[in-house]
């Protein structure tokens, strides 16, 4: 249970493990940072003197920039690491790299890695609080939190009110998407109904045993049967996966599963306020048409903007919890 404004967990490894109170606290705190980010002076001293290590073992643009900006707006010092040009590219293991960064005594560690479970490995050798910025196909918790925050903001709801009564449809490569996994946990936790859709080659086994979602291999059935959807979240298709025979051509995918202009027009005919989301980077013309991505119903850039506030909240609350843990509640 969350008490006194502190998370019930020492690290943000995933949405799994968070309580509803944790999620509400994170989103409430993010709301206050959204306000900070509208000020002329966008910096607060919350993490002054703290060191945030940004360990990105996998390419990232927006998540990395977002975390870096979040740390700076909280007045933290940052230590940036990327695998290209580092000892990792010379064969150093993850744990060896982590042990060396640990020697610099970071208070907070933000990690992205291509392997599921990498943050759990870091926990063995690092003493700072860990924020998972995406691990393999497993989880991307801050993306799910910013997605939820964006929806709450657009629908003018408070975090404590959640997303009850709303339906979100996630479309794409569910099997290899950490964004989908985190959203399939967080959105139902906040009360939303979630549908997921994708080609059968992109739907993992046992989905409904793990997540409270409806599963469709026909995107039109997912979008147009039952109650109208309130938001459509398109996932990036990694084109290199076509070589692994999980999809046909880009054109095949666009016709079968893409959010085309025609398909989105049908979505709007059922709910004129339906929103469009995408975690980025987008493949325009494959999973989403340019007209849809740039339409007034698109909240894609709002997701990026909200991401900074959400990551400020994550860093702030993890640091708070870490201090209490380390200092015995003195902070």
């Amino acid at each position: 249970m969350t008490t006194k404004g502190v998370l019930s967990v020492p690290h943000l490894m995933g949405i799994e493990g968070l309580t509803r109170d944790d999620a509400t606290l994170l989103l409430d705190t993010a709301r206050s940072f959204i306000e900070v980010n509208t000020r002329q002076l966008k910096k607060v001293p919350a993490l002054r003197g703290r060191l945030v290590a940004l360990m990105f073992f996998e390419n990232s643009t927006r998540t990395r920039l977002s975390f870096e900006l979040a740390a700076k707006r909280l007045s933290a010092d940052t230590l940036s690491f990327s695998s290209s040009g580092s000892s990792v590219s010379k064969g150093e293991t993850l744990l060896d790299t982590a042990a060396n960064i640990e020697a610099m005594k970071p208070d907070l560690v933000v990690v992205r890695h291509e392997a599921s479970g990498a943050p759990w490995m870091l926990e063995r050798v690092m003493s700072g609080a860990i924020a998972n910025a995406g691990d393999g196909n497993h989880e991307h918790p801050t993306q799910a939190l910013l997605d939820a925050m964006t929806l709450l903001h657009r629908w003018q709801r408070l975090p404590k009110d959640g997303l009850l009564g709303k339906t979100v449809c996630i479309v794409g490569d569910i099997s290899r998407s950490r964004v989908a996994r985190s959203n399939m946990l967080l959105l139902p936790m906040l009360g939303a109904k979630v549908r997921v859709a994708g080609p059968a080659t992109m739907l993992p086994a046992g989905l409904t045993d793990v997540y409270d979602v409806e599963v469709f291999d026909d995107v039109d059935e997912a979008l147009f049967s039952g109650p109208a959807v309130d938001a459509v979240m398109m996932l990036r298709i990694q084109k290199e996966r076509a070589a692994r025979a999980v999809m046909g051509s880009d054109d095949d995918y666009a016709v079968g599963y893409g959010l085309t202009k025609d398909r989105f027009t049908r979505v709007l005919s059922r709910n004129a306020d339906a929103l469009v989301m995408h975690p980025g980077p987008m493949n325009r013309g494959v999973e989403i048409d340019a007209e849809v991505a740039d339409s007034p119903q698109s909240v894609i850039l709002e997701q990026t903007e909200t991401g900074v506030a959400v990551r400020m909240a994550v860093l702030y609350l993890l640091a708070l919890g870490h201090s209490r843990g380390v200092d015995g509640g003195a902070a």
Binding site: L94, S116, G117, M121, E139
Partner: protein
Amino acid sequence: MTTTSSKTPSITPSTTPAPSSGYCDLGAHIRFPRAPDEESINDLVRAARRGGIATVVVGVSGQPPVDNARFQAACAALQGKDGVRVIPAVCPVQGGGLADVASIERPAAWASSAASSSATSSSWLVPDEVRFVYRLPAPVDDAVLLRRVAETARARHALVITPSFDGALAAGAVAVEGAVATRLGLPGLPEAAEVIGLTRILSIAKLTGARFHVAGVFTAEGAALLASSGNERVTGSAFAAHLLLDETALLSRRYDTRYLRQPPLPTAASRQALIAAVKAGTLLVSSGHAHVPRRERDLEPIRATPGGTALSSTARLLRPILGDDVLDRAFGAGPTRCLGDAKTPRRSPPTGVGPFDGQGGDVNDDLGRCVQELAR
């Protein structure tokens, strides 16, 4: 009692003569030549003796295995040491084709001969039945190649020990496909891969008349298929890890690479079916022994080598769930018969060693430590 230290685990050989018969393991692997922090053949023999194992078939890990002939010569030099009979497996497949089997069989034949003369019991191989053991270190998905291996084995009276599953479907997998793998974001292997692999093996066995032993059966369907095949020349065994742990351990011990196994840990239902099949006598038991250096375990789950199993603790860990009689049959008499031994050896208790000590067990006893951790 054997003394061990938690910081520097070691295997201390006993000077007490071991019984000439005991458990028989078809599932041990070793790397050869070994790196400094890896297990030697001597280590393996001592561990076998501590575990009450009197006969052990040892294959070379790696694909393709190297220096097979040298490895077999090294095994031959150890025949009868501490009363343990070491049967070096010949790897008939290297790369994508049939190896020069004759050149690597020569030292194996010498090893057989040495075993016959040095072991304290009567000859361990019945010449007309099995002369060599062929071990496939990875599944052979190519039916043409598998047929050639089987035909060669048949002609030379060799027992073929093979993995149970289709290798292509298993590529990269570290868990059984399903809810657990999906939840952890780990690449999964469908259980159907075992049915596909076993169907191919059973068909090739019927076609060629070769003797096969399928090591590491890990699904209920696979166990049932093997039981119903009606081909007495095809036997199967479950690895100790698959009888002791199921995939739910992956959830409780998140991303701890010692819990990753090859083949992956079974579902809870399959584990129960495997135990039932062993008790019913339709599956045997093998250790799945492998030593995994720490440097290979400390990698990310998708890159790490699956956790190890120690010969010294296999029987002790299995006894509570199988009982002495079943263990005698499934880890002693049955495997020995696979090798063509007409005798039914009795179980020999581990000597020179006390109750399993998780802190001080063999350096490669990941499985023993996992079982102990989960029991806490």
